[in-house]
Every structure is written in structure tokens, then in C-alpha cells.
């Protein structure tokens, strides 16, 4: 087969794109396997060093924070719980509210939908004080509930589910009605399985969103046992700057690499569903 010049150009662009995405991660990983001294003197590394197990072991098990109580492993667990809770509840709630908006023809459905949609303009950062006030009045600071609950409503996901449900033909609902399906069983038996790929996609987005929350857990948690990964990145090795010890760059890189693993796993796992949904169009 002859290769056209246009194809070569396209491939070069794609390769540059891949390098842009992968190189920083590789540098982080390579650097995380060196000693701090060598990074300090020679800069970032492209090759692997010999300190892999030492650095990673230290990151996972060393107790950090002001009171030296929390380990990185604990923070990974916290972040995972928070992201999982946010993603699950966000998907469940927005699927159900979209169901109500599309299938229950109450008068204010459209204005209510736009009201929900407008909340996109008011992200958590804007309403962080009232949110904090409410959560603290409810006594939910320093708890997983407090970390998760204020973030579970999602206008974006509601919007996507609504658009998807609108494409489902009316006959399906009518036929299900004649087959004796009630409102609940139509949702569970029809809409949920039909929107499987949609749910997977939304879950991925929302998981990453929850995992990368920074400001909210920072304000919400005073107890170190509720710290999350993204917070920890800033806090956990701060002491090294003030003391006489060397900056612990290698450990930081190791920490960054580890923190990427949970979202990557979620994407890899749910991607199967994604692709399945793309190949088998069932509608």
C-alpha cells in the first residue's frame, strides 16, 4: 500500500499528541525511582533509577501531616470513597431527575429543567461559604457524608440523561405500560439497561471530578483521617522545605504516580462497556 503524504502528516501530529500526553507521566515515573540528591543536582530524569521500592514503600507507609497520623494509603482510600460516593449518587440522582423531567408531564417541567441547568453557572467554589455553613450546622464536618453530599447534584448529568431519554420512542413506554410495567419498573427494566453506556460514561466523568476535588475537602476536614489525595499532595511533605533536609522530590513524584492509579483503573474497567455500547447499537 502506498502511504500518502497527508497520512504521514496526520501520524506526525498524532505522535506529537501522544508524546505530549505521555512524556510528563514518564518523566514523573522515571524521576520517582531516583534518589532525591541526584534529582536535585541533575534535574529530572528520563531513565529509570534504582530507588523504586524504597521510594514507593516510604510514600505508602510513612505517616505525615502535622500530627504525623495519616499515611498516603489512608488518603487514597479516602479519595476513593469520596469519588465513588459522588459518582454513584450523581449518576443515580441525575438519571432519576431526568426520568421525572421527561416522563412526568407536569406543568413546570421545562422551567424546572432550566433552573437545574442554570446551577451550572454556580459551581461549588462560588457557594462554598453557604455550603460550608449548612454542612457544619448539620454536624457533618469531618465525615464522609459531609465530603460527598454537597457534591451529588449534577446539572450536566441530568442534562445528558434527559437528552438520551428523549430519544427513546414513546411506543416503548406504551408497550411496557400494556405489559403491566409501572413507573418504577419502566425505569429499572428499560431506561437503566438502555442507558448503560451513558451511565458508564457519566460515572467516569463524575468519578474523576470527585477524585480531583481540592477546595471542598480542604475546607471541610480538620481531622487528618479524612484528608484526600489531592490535599495531601500539597500538605504531606511540606516539612521538608522548612527543615534542613533535602526537598523530597522523588517521593512527591511517586505520590503523583500513585494518585493517578484509581481514576485510570476506573476508566480502564468501564471502557469495556463504552466500546461494547459503541459496537452494539441496540436502539
Amino acid at each position: 500500500m502506498k502511504i500518502k503524504p497527508l497520512q504521514i502528516v496526520a501520524h506526525i501530529i498524532l505522535i506529537i499528541g501522544v508524546l505530549l500526553m505521555v512524556l510528563p507521566i514518564w518523566i514523573s515515573f522515571a524521576s520517582s525511582t531516583h534518589e532525591n540528591v541526584s534529582i536535585l543536582t541533575e534535574g529530572m530524569r528520563f531513565t529509570l533509577g534504582e530507588q523504586f521500592s524504597r521510594n514507593y514503600n516510604e510514600v505508602l507507609n510513612e505517616k505525615g501531616g502535622w500530627s504525623e497520623e495519616v499515611t498516603a494509603a489512608k488518603m487514597f482510600i479516602n479519595s476513593f470513597i469520596m469519588a465513588l460516593g459522588i459518582a454513584t449518587l450523581k449518576v443515580a440522582i441525575s438519571a432519576m431527575s431526568a426520568y421525572a423531567l421527561v416522563y412526568y408531564r407536569f406543568k413546570l417541567a421545562v422551567p424546572i429543567f432550566w433552573l437545574i441547568f442554570i446551577t451550572l453557572l454556580v459551581p461549588l467554589e462560588v457557594r462554598i461559604f453557604p455550603s460550608y455553613k449548612i454542612v457544619s450546622d448539620l454536624g457533618l464536618t469531618n465525615s464522609y457524608t459531609g465530603l460527598i453530599l454537597p457534591l451529588v447534584a449534577s446539572a450536566t448529568a441530568t442534562f445528558f440523561f434527559r437528552q438520551f431519554y428523549k430519544t427513546i420512542p414513546d411506543e416503548l413506554l406504551e408497550s411496557a405500560k400494556l405489559d403491566g410495567a409501572n413507573a418504577w419498573s419502566f425505569f429499572i427494566d428499560f431506561l437503566v439497561p438502555l442507558s448503560k453506556t451513558m451511565i458508564a460514561a457519566m460515572f467516569i466523568f463524575m468519578f474523576v471530578y470527585g477524585y480531583s476535588q481540592y477546595l471542598w475537602p480542604l475546607i471541610m476536614t480538620t481531622a487528618e483521617e479524612y484528608w484526600t489525595v489531592v490535599m495531601g499532595m500539597k500538605i504531606i511533605y511540606t516539612e521538608s522545605y522548612e527543615g534542613v533536609a533535602l526537598p523530597r522530590t522523588a517521593e512527591r513524584f511517586a505520590y503523583i504516580i500513585l494518585s493517578m492509579i484509581p481514576p485510570v483503573l476506573v476508566v480502564v474497567f468501564l471502557q469495556k462497556w463504552f466500546i461494547k455500547g459503541l459496537i452494539q447499537t441496540e436502539k
Partner: protein, 350 residues
């Protein structure tokens, strides 16, 4: 009281459109009733009111002696086959059939038995594990019917189920539906805009126009004795020919011919209707047709031509005749095989 009784049923949509106008109709048990009419005439709305998918604005519907106006669709014990089949895309054929039974709380073994019986009847036993997307049009159609049959409902409702199929398959499925209905013996209502489908399937036919039943009767009654211009034009293929004429003192005068001794006391402007198959060639006939186009169907020919100022007048001639463009045919109307309608109201007057 008959099996299904519609009394003065009216449907007015919230935007004010009147879809069905005070319709009354009785359907007997085991009968195959067909609603036929042009699109937008209200036939589907009427069917959907029986199914419970549309609210009834006024009137009553009784099924098997019970008023069902306010009964939920799932409780009415009706089954419906939709135009696009509305199969459940994420379930395999077995579950498509079984879903309605599961919702009724029937135990697993009975469901399996019933599904297998229905599948055997419809010859879809081999596809039970497939998803609808892997089936052909005809197979999907069968699954949709299987879903209706398996529940053993009081009444089958068909909403133009054949219009998504290609011509050949449509004829085949038409036959199968009719056979199946006779075998199962369930009361059925079939909605279609195709008059051939209507004629071939129906025990009785309701011709609907503008939300009103124009005529109700057996297909052959309606064909032989249309009560209005609309029915005459709608039933029969090719369509009936219509000519403007005048009726005075039992004499009908059209463009260039007259018919005497007509059994009607009506005087005034009328429309004369003649079916293409009710014309015969003779010498010195009433009508001189200048041939413009011949459609040879093999068994017979459809001859289209002009009579003075009237265009596209159709005559059905036997297939063994050779008629060419430009010929002039002399035609007579078979005895009493003509229909006269009041021009302003469209009502039959002879």
C-alpha cells in the same frame, strides 16, 4: 351487549383538535374489525383509546361488559402490536415475550410453557435467545405478535403493523395475521390506511374520515354499496372514476352521454362514480375513451385515457387484449353498476 362497545366516544386534544367525533361502534367476540381511513382521520386515536393510551374526552367504552374508561392500560387485558413493533431492544426474544407475564406475577414454569407455545405457533422458537436487532423485519413482526398472543388477552389491537415491511413480506404477513387470528379466535381491531389490507383482513370494516365512521359493514358490502363519495373513492383499487353530471327527472346527463330511468328522486348537480372494472367494451357504447396509457399487469390491463375534458379515466380490461396508446375504445357501464352522489354533501342518491 356485544363484546366491545363504544358509545359516543369523542376525543378532543388539549389544543382543541377534534380527532374522534361521537363514534359509536359494537364489535362482537372473535370478530376481526378493521379501521381504515387516510392518515390523520382519527383511526389510530380511536384504537389508542381502546388500549387506554389516550384519555377519552367523552363517551363510554365497555369491554366484556365492564366500563373501562378509567381502567389503567395494564389492567384492561388488551395487547397491542405497534407500527414500529416497539420490541424491547435490550431483551432477547424470550424475555420480550415473557416480560408482560412476569409483571403479572405468573410463575416461571408457566411462563416458559406459554412462551414456548407462542414461539412454536409463530415459528420463532429458533430465535428465542436473540436480541431484536439481530432479527429481520418479518421476524420482528412475529415477535411483536408473539408478545401479544402470549398474554392471551381479550382483544388484539394492531396499529398499522405491516407498513414497515416491504411489499412481498407485507402480503405474506397479512395472510399470516389472518390465519393466526382465525386459529386463536381473539377479537381484533386492525388499523390501516391501506384499503387492500383492509379488504382482505376484515370481517367487518369501518371506513373513517375526519373522526367519523363514514360506513360500517363487511368489505364486500362496502365495495358494492358505498354510501358516500369518500367511501367510494377510498375502497377499491384502482380508484373509482368520478364524473360531474346533472340529474333531472330520473335522467342523468354527463359530459357527452345520458343515462335514463335512474332510481332516484334527487334533482341537481351530482357526481357519477364508475369503477374501472365495471366497464365493458361494446360497439356504440356510451363512453368513448381515448387511450393515453396502458399498464399491463398480466392478468389484466389498466387503461388510462381521456373522455372529452375528463383526464385519467381508468378502465380495467382483460389481460389478453392488446390496447395501444391512441386507440379509441367504446365502453358501456355494466347494468346498474354506477353510483350517484350528491355533489355538495357527497351522500349517495341512487
Amino acid at each position: 351487549m356485544s363484546f366491545l362497545d363504544l358509545k359516543n366516544v369523542t376525543k378532543i386534544y388539549p389544543n382543541g383538535t377534534k380527532a374522534v367525533h361521537e363514534t359509536s361502534l359494537s364489535i362482537n367476540e372473535g370478530e376481526f374489525m378493521v379501521f381504515v381511513g387516510p392518515s390523520g382521520c382519527g383511526k389510530s386515536t380511536l384504537l389508542r383509546m381502546v388500549a387506554g393510551l389516550e384519555d377519552i374526552t367523552e363517551g363510554h367504552i365497555n369491554l366484556d361488559g365492564k366500563l373501562i374508561n378509567e381502567v389503567d392500560p395494564s389492567e384492561r387485558d388488551v395487547a397491542m402490536v405497534f407500527q414500529n413493533y416497539a420490541l424491547y431492544p435490550h431483551m432477547n426474544v424470550y424475555n420480550n415475550l415473557a416480560y408482560g407475564l412476569k409483571n403479572r406475577g405468573i410463575d416461571k414454569e408457566t411462563i416458559e410453557q406459554k412462551v414456548n407455545d407462542a414461539a412454536k405457533l409463530l415459528q420463532i422458537s429458533d430465535f428465542l435467545q436473540r436480541k431484536p436487532s439481530m432479527l429481520s423485519g418479518g421476524q420482528r413482526q412475529r415477535v411483536a405478535m408473539g408478545r401479544a398472543i402470549v398474554r392471551n388477552p381479550k382483544i388484539f389491537l394492531f396499529d398499522e403493523p405491516l407498513s414497515n415491511l416491504d411489499a412481498k413480506l407485507r402480503i405474506q404477513m397479512r395472510l399470516e395475521i389472518k390465519k393466526l387470528q382465525q386459529k386463536v379466535g381473539v377479537t381484533s381491531i386492525f388499523v390501516t390506511h391501506d384499503q387492500v389490507e383492509a379488504m382482505t383482513l376484515a370481517d367487518r370494516l369501518a371506513v373513517i374520515n375526519d373522526g367519523i365512521i363514514e360506513q360500517l359493514g363487511t368489505p364486500i358490502e362496502i365495495y358494492n354499496n358505498p354510501k358516500s363519495l369518500f367511501v367510494a373513492g377510498f375502497i377499491g383499487s384502482p380508484q373509482m372514476n368520478f364524473l360531474d353530471a346533472n340529474l333531472n327527472n330520473k335522467t342523468l346527463s354527463a359530459e357527452n352521454f345520458e343515462i335514463k330511468n335512474i332510481e332516484s328522486d334527487y334533482n341537481g348537480e351530482v357526481t357519477l362514480g364508475i369503477r374501472p372494472e365495471h366497464l365493458i367494451e361494446t360497439e356504440n357504447g356510451l363512453i368513448n375513451l381515448k387511450v393515453e396509457l396502458v399498464e399491463q399487469l398480466g392478468s389484466d390491463n389498466l387503461v388510462y385515457g381521456q373522455i372529452k375534458n375528463i383526464k385519467d379515466f381508468c378502465y380495467r380490461s382483460p389481460g389478453n387484449q392488446t390496447i395501444k396508446k391512441g386507440d379509441t375504445l367504446s365502453l358501456n357501464i355494466e347494468e346498474n353498476k354506477y353510483y350517484i352522489f350528491d355533489k355538495s354533501t357527497g351522500k349517495r342518491v341512487n
